[in-house]
Subunit: 166 residues, 2 copies
């Protein structure tokens, strides 16, 4: 099995996401991997990713859960088909619904750990539960319904690639 992050296996023209695209130099470049049957990513917030001083901004938490979720959905779809992540045709998912419960304030200055559990895999839909923790304590829980990226978005991405963030 490849050691490539899920997001680093996306096709070049679909790798501009601010949250996780390797071709977005301004973005978070989140990288998710299998860890047994769960998926895992870590992220260190920068000082300006604050909500109020001392605590991480909830929008960043939502963003990381979102990108870890769609990455996990992609990986789960490949696994379901017995295919290596990144092989063609591409399995690229987008978020249909994202529910987040903020359970505790997330402290700044420590690494965030995201863990995903795949709940359901269908041809065009994957359901993922995600936790975001610091120092072993769960600070937020996410529930995501991800759906296969529409063909119209994929073809639009190719058309618009020259106008992208690089």
């Amino acid at each position: 099995m490849s050691n490539l992050a899920f997001q680093d296996s996306y096709p070049e023209e679909l790798s501009h996401c601010y949250g996780c695209g390797k071709n977005n130099s301004h973005g978070h470049q989140l990288k998710s991997y299998w860890d047994g049957d769960e998926t895992r990513a870590v992220f260190m917030p920068q000082a300006f990713h604050t909500a109020i001083p001392g605590f991480v901004y909830g929008g960043l938490i939502a963003s990381l859960i979102d990108c870890h979720g769609t990455g996990s959905a992609s990986a789960a779809a490949y696994r379901e088909q017995g295919r290596e992540v990144g092989t063609l045709p591409s399995e690229r998912f987008v978020t249909a619904a994202l529910n987040i419960d903020y359970l505790a304030p997330t402290p700044m200055g420590v690494e965030l750990e995201l863990r995903g559990v795949i709940r359901e895999v269908k041809a065009r839909k994957v359901v993922v539960d995600i936790t975001l923790s610091t120092m072993g304590k769960v600070c937020a829980k996410g529930h995501m319904v991800a759906v296969k990226m529409p063909e119209t978005m994929m073809s639009s991405a190719v058309t618009n690639d020259e106008f992208s963030c690089n």
Copy 2:
């Protein structure tokens, strides 16, 4: 009634949020206002806020809905008490739960409009429904449960202010 944005009326030590704090020079600085009984904000994404080329990043959408929601919650709490936004004691809310349905891809290059409808106002809890639209078309819907910011966070903010993002 003041023309100050809800977020610009937050106390100085609670104005560092990456999404909407006037004291966060790196952030989005979202500004929300009353528009009749609804709340409204607009935002123009930058080129790098992309999901895939041509479309806005879902994490930004979640972030904007989050900050418009907590700002709306604060304003609704003041209105419920017949007080001017920004007067003391401060009504500052944080997100307990955020549910987002992504209804359609959000195109880049056009202004995003957020509108909030206050569904419930209690002393320590406000419920807000939010839409995010481009050119009159709703691209995402959010449902937020916001709760009064815990005293521990408020006092921590004062303590940590010198280590903040500026």
